[in-house]
Homo-oligomer: 408 residues x 2
């Protein structure tokens, strides 16, 4: 019998500090604390909705099926997994509940079949339609002038040793799409220790982690000494890695400075100066492909990806592994025009910052937003050795949420 | 110094058989063979395009920038990485080439700066606009009647021991979204051997692989003995696992039959019988969330996902970890109506097949298309033990492409 890997074994206990939040009135099966100071003052059935009023004057309406669906009693929500076990598909018609406010200010619903549901007033307030669960904040894009001398940096020891340090670093990484850890050990696989402090590395065709060095028989450009134009890694995957960690172990060669560009800032600039080119890059699918002895990994996606709401979601730019895709001459004309213009912006000093990585420094960035590159280096003048790995966005956000549980 | 993991170490040499394809006229840096029997008979500059004719009468036009961009000479395409190193952004204006057909029927372009590019005629034909790189085939959806007694199955030994066996199994898995390996060993971690025969497992918060058994302190429904309604795994991840492998080691308990439904077939049925409900499920974002001591992983996406062309792309249905999301009563009404109807279809015997997994059988399925579940079982009547892991779609397709290289 095998059990799942233990997760984040190096995590210290949550920082002590601040009073524990008051216990909720009704246990809704959540790990996270929810506002428990508010009490309900009134509950009323209005058609298929239940209208509620809290003691601070706020009001909200919940559909009766939503309430039945989210009952948190031990037979509707599994007491150990905290998952929903009630199945609406098996309840022919829950009907309209009889509602009441309990002495502690909670909501009680009695259903047609006699089942009773209790809801914590703070939990309900958090989930009031239109108030809770705001959409993700738009990223704060940056130009070179805004970022040059202030790439966020946290000492390696603080991020590895304290929840607060880790939280500051991950906050910066999520906000700016790039952040450093500085003054770390010059130890092989230190990059893996950092990834495991957050979650675990995402394995790819380059392994669980990879060494960026000049190699005699390279299978990709990073393993040569040539200049690397700003790019994202693995656009040929349906879901390229979200975050990349690059840990500098040695950097004695001439050249090889690191380059970073906020691709969302460059895309916004393209949109305002040449909307037609922007639209072309947002809509024309581009083939990417990596092939070696054992792999042939392909994906097709536009250079600039937008989400369902039209917000910038991802940049797929990598000139090496863009495939030779069939393209009508009439399509090639606007594509190459827009592609060239975007490329010029990506390497424009207005947007691109450059700096030298010191041994013991880890550079982390959002691979789908912040493009990375490096200047050419001369491998005959000294050793240059980085180790890298990838990290899922889900894990970064999960780690932040769990850290915030302990933050009171 | 560390090198990437060796990949697919158990792969036998490609099956011998059939004559090797004729060598291409020009080495375009591709692993894959390309039609080399065709020769060009004419090449002509027409404005910004180059018009080509082949000896079988076919004709096509390529934009001059496309040709410059895809030059495969040793200075434009890295001879070892096979990646593009020529940068159009650094060529102010390649101009219109002088073109000629070589004695071997290849295309020669001489550029304004004196650079010469050669193109293989078969490689060009493969990439002729409008002919090559067809869109992915639409999946062949299935109902229970179509699938019941013919879930594709390949003997474990054939898939593990021969390229042809592996290819037949992966072909079926991609086409039908589900396929079995049968008569395999009853060995712990055999599931990992299968994953490593294709690529490598995708690690999640449940580990590199997981044991599906009834546990005393479960953190999710699979680790209990309850009936599992048809569902996908990990809809709370931005990118849930693509394929799931479930390997049966023991199955002595009463109950516990496996359930599979082609979610695309059920979605098509919903679309034709209740277009409004279908549209609601395609557009209304649903919050999913898994929380335990160390994780809080959330994502928001519609129940039925479509791609940019409007084709079915993924199903996100999992009643346990659907979150209690804020929802206006006016939105809840159509959502719960559509959700219930879709659920009824997913468990409808028209669409759902059920069967008993034998020890030594591996069931693989497309987690984003084919929903899985199981009947309740009685853990007091005998042991039931499955091991599972996940596999990226990119790796499945890559493996198939590499297998096809050897297939002549």
């Amino acid at each position: 019998m095998h059990t799942p890997h233990p997760r984040n074994p190096a995590t210290p206990a949550p920082d002590a500090g601040g009073p524990a939040p008051a216990a909720p009135v009704v246990d809704m099966g959540e790990f996270e604390s929810y506002a428990s100071a508010r009490r309900l003052t009134a509950a009323e059935v209005e058609g298929d909705a239940v209208a509620l009023s809290w003691d601070d004057g706020r009001r909200a309406r919940f559909h009766r099926l939503w309430l039945r669906d989210n009952c948190a009693c031990a037979s509707c929500r599994h007491p150990q997994t905290r998952e929903r076990v009630v199945k609406l598909a098996d309840i022919a018609e829950p009907g309209r509940p009889e509602v009441a406010v309990t002495g502690q200010g909670a909501l009680q619903c009695r259903w047609a079949d006699g089942h009773v549901s209790l809801f914590d007033p703070g939990w309900l307030l958090q989930r009031a339609p239109g108030t809770g669960a705001a959409a993700a904040e738009a990223p704060r894009t940056w130009t070179a002038a805004q970022m040059q001398d202030q790439l966020p940096a946290v000492p390696h020891a603080e991020a590895m040793g304290s929840d607060d340090g880790l939280r500051r670093w991950l906050d910066a990484l999520v906000r700016d799409g790039a952040a450093l850890l500085v003054d770390g050990p010059r130890e092989p696989e230190a990059v893996i220790r950092v990834a495991e402090r957050v979650g675990w590395p995402r394995e790819t065709n380059f392994g669980r982690y990879f060494d960026v060095v000049s190699k005699p028989n390279p299978n990709n450009a990073a393993y040569t000494a040539i200049r690397l134009e700003p790019h994202i890694d693995l656009p040929n995957w349906q879901r390229p890695p979200d975050f990349q960690l690059l840990y500098c172990l040695e950097n004695e060669s001439e050249g090889g400075d690191s380059l970073l560009t906020d691709g969302f800032a460059a895309a916004q600039a393209l949109q305002s100066e040449d909307p037609e080119a922007f639209e072309t890059l947002c809509t024309l699918p581009v083939d990417f492909r990596f092939q070696d002895e054992v792999s042939d990994i392909r994906f097709r996606a536009p250079t600039i990806g937008r989400d369902a709401d039209g917000n910038l979601a991802e940049i797929r730019f990598n000139n090496w592994i863009r495939d030779a895709q069939p393209m009508q001459p009439e399509v090639a004309e606007p594509f190459y025009r827009g592609y060239r213009r975007f490329w010029e912006l990506l390497r424009d000093p207005r947007f691109m910052i450059s700096f030298r990585l010191e041994p013991g420094t880890l550079m982390a960035f959002d691979n789908l937003r912040v493009l990375h590159g490096r200047e050419e280096f001369n491998p005959n003048t000294g050793r240059r050795h980085l180790q890298g790995c990838y990290l899922d966005r889900d894990l970064v956000h999960s780690r932040l949420r769990v850290l915030e549980r302990g933050a009171g």
